[in-house]
């Protein structure tokens, strides 16, 4: 049996109770204190949800108490749903209901929380706490949610074994152990926390928690890394962009040893900034998703010219994969298609969505093994390296050419004057689709669409050059998970185009 996350954490707390587990707003929480808080939370979880067979819902913002509540659920052997606290009440309620939650627990009394848990409570002295409940490998612990760009997020259950195997891999790969500080940038409900929060706590490191409210402050982020001698930095491109800005003035950060690019593909401009942000770090491009966790990893060779998109590299130990072409069969050589993976960290399937097409064996795969369809189109190169073209959903035909609107966005973002870019495909009776780009420049008027067209024409096929390049000065709308809201932009562009045709023609 894989040692569970909570068993590992408990062992660390017993061995080094004085070691710092969490850093939060200049306050340090030791392993002993966190263990005590988690144990108090556990008691309250068991009181509020006496039926161990039913999941509990959690609604928490990032804080040491929130971390303790999650650990408390693990100690109680409960399955728990951890959605984004930023979701509106109606979809939250629907998610808790679909996941079968008996009760919703939170740290503050706000709907839809049924019971408030207070892990800090009054210190009860040096009481003895019962050992964590033992759960088997197959038992579900975390239930995370997908980002839900369309409709209700999907609930992704992860087994105790899947989480334990992942933390083992992550700790070994990035050297996470006692005395190692790891930056946590993502909100607590994100899958990235499996690495930066939960692996760190299972292996005795220190989690430096970024306050999401100050997550856009470059100086704050730099100070966190520098003041707490952070060694491992994982985050989305925006984090690295902010750190690059902050260190442009103060000089590079010299404690980070491993920096991990996650969540989105790194734009060339952001990647170029990383070179001067860290003095000695190794760089990794991480490929994964909530459903399977990490499946591929690429260490960037910093001595060679940087090219984007970065390859996703090689499969992790125990990962099986294949690429399906247009006929649905596995490619046998270089080519393009959809990536299917099977990982030791994988979910068994969604709780609230159909799984037949997404989690299934494949006739060309290992017999009986369940593969997850990633929805990512990838290229398998001659040298065996893999790179992601974009989401299959974003592939459109323009005048017979297959174009990824995401890769066009990436090309536009590679221009130094472009701060934000959204490329949407609009139906076109002649071309099939035509592309409309909406951009915000770093400085209004610094470049015109003619220069951007030339920039595109040097990097891609003609069909991929947007037919309209529109510049706006307001930030682009974003979804609750921080991604550019292309659906909203598309609706807005379509409405604007339809406007004039409704007026009667002379």
């Amino acid at each position: 049996m894989t040692r569970s996350l909570v068993a590992s954490f408990t062992a660390r707390a017993a061995a080094h109770p004085g070691a710092p587990a969490l850093i939060w707003e200049d306050r340090s929480v030791s392993y002993g204190d966190l263990y005590a808080m988690a144990s108090r939370a556990r008691t309250q979880v068991e009181e509020a949800a006496p039926d161990a067979g039913r999941p509990v819902g959690l609604l928490v913002r990032k804080s040491p108490e929130a971390v303790a509540l999650v650990l408390g659920c693990l100690m109680a052997g409960r399955t728990f749903l951890l959605p984004s606290h930023e979701l509106p009440e109606a979809p939250l309620k629907a998610l808790y209901q679909q996941a079968g939650c008996a009760v919703v627990l939170g740290l503050a009394d706000a709907p839809p929380v049924d019971r408030v848990v207070d892990p800090a409570g009054a210190p009860r002295g040096c009481e003895e706490y019962p050992p964590a409940a033992v759960v088997d490998d197959e038992a579900v612990t975390f239930m995370l949610t997908t980002s839900g760009s369309t409709g209700l997020p999907k609930v992704v259950p992860l087994s105790s074994g899947a989480v334990g195997r992942f933390t083992d891999w992550a700790a070994e790969t990035f050297g996470i152990t006692t005395g190692v500080a790891v930056l946590n940038y993502a909100p607590l409900n994100f899958d990235l926390c499996m690495l930066d929060v939960w692996t760190t706590l299972a292996y005795g490191g220190t989690v430096v928690l970024v306050d999401p409210g100050r997550g856009a402050s470059a100086g704050y982020l730099r100070d966190l890394v520098a003041d707490h001698a952070v060694s491992v930095v994982q985050g989305v491109p925006m984090l690295f962009q902010l750190l690059a800005e902050a260190t442009a003035e103060s000089g590079p950060l010299d404690t980070p040893e491993h920096v991990i690019f996650a969540g989105d593909s790194m734009p060339a401009r952001v990647l170029a900034g990383v070179s001067t942000t860290f003095s000695k770090a190794r760089w990794y491009n991480n490929y994964g998703c909530t459903e399977t966790n990490n499946s591929f990893l690429h260490e960037v060779d910093q001595d060679r010219p940087l090219r984007t998109p970065l390859p996703i590299g090689r499969p992790l130990a125990g990962v099986r994969w294949l690429i399906t072409g247009q006929d649905g069969r596995a490619l046998t050589g270089p080519g393009q298609g959809e990536l299917l993976v099977s990982t030791p960290f994988q979910s068994a399937g969604y709780v609230n969505a159909p799984n037949e097409k997404t989690f299934a064996p494949h006739p060309d795969g290992a017999p009986g093994l369940v593969y997850y369809r990633t929805g990512d189109m990838v290229t398998l190169h001659e040298d065996g390296a893999l790179s992601v073209i974009g989401r299959a959903d974003y592939l459109v035909k323009v005048r017979g050419f297959q174009v990824s609107t995401q890769s066009v966005e990436q090309i536009l973002l590679d221009h130094p004057a472009v701060a934000e870019a959204a490329v949407i495909a609009l139906p076109d009776p002649v071309a099939g689709h035509r592309l409309h780009a909406r951009l915000r420049l770093t400085e209004a008027g610094s470049v015109n669409s003619l220069s951007l067209r030339r920039h595109c024409s040097e990097r891609t096929v003609r069909a991929a050059i947007p037919s309209v390049i529109e510049m706006v000065t307001d930030p682009l709308p974003r979804t609750s998970t921080g991604k550019v809201d292309r659906n909203r932009i598309k609706a807005c562009v379509l409405a604007a185009e339809e406007g004039p045709t409704r007026t009667p023609q002379p």
Binding site: R399, V430, A431, N448, S449, L450, R453, R454, C456, S457, R462, A463, I465, P466, S467, V468, I469, E470, M471
Partner: protein, 98 residues
């Protein structure tokens, strides 16, 4: 100080590059000023016009300026830039008059 005047041995073709640039910008490049469009800017390579765009420009030359382009002249290469479009129109008019 002497200003060098352009040597124009023949009559100047009546459609100016500026006029063509103005049309191209209005029709295909919303948000761009015609003064920003260089007259040798490659309209094809940068996706400003495609084969459908060629037809739009040909139709404008016909309606606005009475210049009829025939099949063989309607190749994309004859519409690569503002300068090329003007040359194509000029050739067509000379050909038609001959």
């Amino acid at each position: 100080m002497t200003t060098e005047s352009r040597i124009e041995p023949k009559a100047v073709f009546r459609i100016s590059e500026d006029e063509i640039a103005q049309f191209v910008v209005e029709r295909f490049l919303p948000g761009v000023e015609s003064s920003e469009l260089e007259h040798d800017y490659d309209l094809l390579a940068t996706g400003v016009i495609d084969s459908l765009g060629v037809l739009h420009i040909a139709s404008w030359l016909g309606k606005q300026h009475g210049i009829t382009l025939t099949g063989p002249e309607l190749t994309a290469g004859n519409f690569r830039s503002v300068r090329t479009i003007r040359a194509t129109a000029e050739r067509a008019e000379a050909g038609g008059a001959a």
